[in-house]
Amino acid sequence: MEVTLFIHAADDAFRILENAKTQAVGLLDTATRLTSETRWMEEKKLQTILKGAHEARSGVQGFVITFVMLMVFWALLSGKFDAFHLSLGVICSLIVAYLSHDLLFANVRVGDGRVIARRFLAYVPWLLREIITSNFYVAYLALSPKMPIDPQIMKFRTKLESDISWVMLANSITLTPGTVTIDIADREFMVHALDRKIAASLDTGEMEDRVAHIFMEADHIYIQDVLDVSRIFAELKRGM
């Protein structure tokens, strides 16, 4: 009879141990799930802060700048400045700016507009000078009796980052006589040049450096970005 009692006691002990084991495994599972959820929530909070700040500032700023540019364009087109036509201009500019302001300023860093505009205005006379000098050389090539042209296509990889700077570089290359941009395929430019000398002058990369200087890309540090990041970092540190 002591043996049956002993067997019953051992049975109970084993059952208690099984329960304890399942409970311990359940606790471990809940603990892992809770830590991963907290990490996911932290990431989501960070994402909303970054996206919200950028969208709020760039949305309104883009709308206002688009409206001003469209008003200036309207005033240029219609030479009449009486109240009726100006009010028509304001209404039309408001409608068009509301419908397409996210088209014009799609990916611009907030706060950089004035510097970019000033540098762009300083770039245009240099481009005009380049066009005039290349014009003389291409005219000499085309008008000489045996026409010593040597057409070649060159490919080069660019260090510029945003699509507006690519388009500005492609436009400048095409505007300069002697070179034509054929294609841009993910950061690789294909350019057709008339002569080896023209191709060499494009190869030095001076135009690319100047375009990068306009848009402040390619080894520049933006003070505005550091200021933005420091504010978000303080917010996060407070939340932790």
Binding site: H101, D163, I164, T181, D183, I184
Partner: protein
């Protein structure tokens, strides 16, 4: 279905051009009495700007800005404005589309009322022409099949 163009120069330049194109079209509509232009011409330029967006950015981008319902609504709205102004002139006691009767509502003398009435009907014409031009372009380029139906057909063919 019109996919977006993978040439980045055209995409960027079209994106920068379109607001100025649309403002130029509205300028042509509003100054119809003073320089060549008017409702129909402005409407064609507006439709062309929408067609430019369709070619370069694809149908998905344009569905956000100009869905099919809005297109039909704009087309009918233009006709409503035109006929409505004529009807208002009739109700105020003149002939159909006799704009001088509008001076009662607007509070200006008869020549100014005629000028504003013509501006109103030109606006209506502009809306309708834009909707119809864009709709014609879209129907001819996709063969009249909406992209949702096209996708469903493609998926059915893939399964088969």
């Amino acid at each position: 279905m019109i996919g977006k163009s993978d040439d980045i120069i055209i995409k960027t330049i079209a994106r920068i051009f379109v607001p100025f194109l649309q403002l130029y079209a509205l300028y042509v509509i509003m100054h119809g009495h003073y320089s060549p232009g008017g409702g129909f011409q402005g409407g064609v330029i507006l439709g062309a700007s929408m067609a430019l967006l369709l070619i370069t950015h694809g149908y998905d981008e344009l569905k956000r800005r100009l869905p099919e319902g809005a297109l039909i609504f704009l087309g009918s709205l233009g006709v409503l404005i035109y006929a409505g102004i004529g009807l208002i002139c009739l109700l105020l006691g003149g002939n159909y589309l006799d704009y001088s009767q509008l001076s009662v509502i607007l509070g200006v003398d008869a020549p100014h009322a005629r000028s504003l009435g013509i501006l109103g009907v030109e606006l209506g014409v502009g809306f309708t022409v834009m909707a119809i031009m864009y709709s014609i372009f879209f129907d001819i380029s996709t063969g009249g099949i909406l992209p949702e139906d096209q996708r469903r057909e493609d998926r059915a063919e893939g399964e088969r």
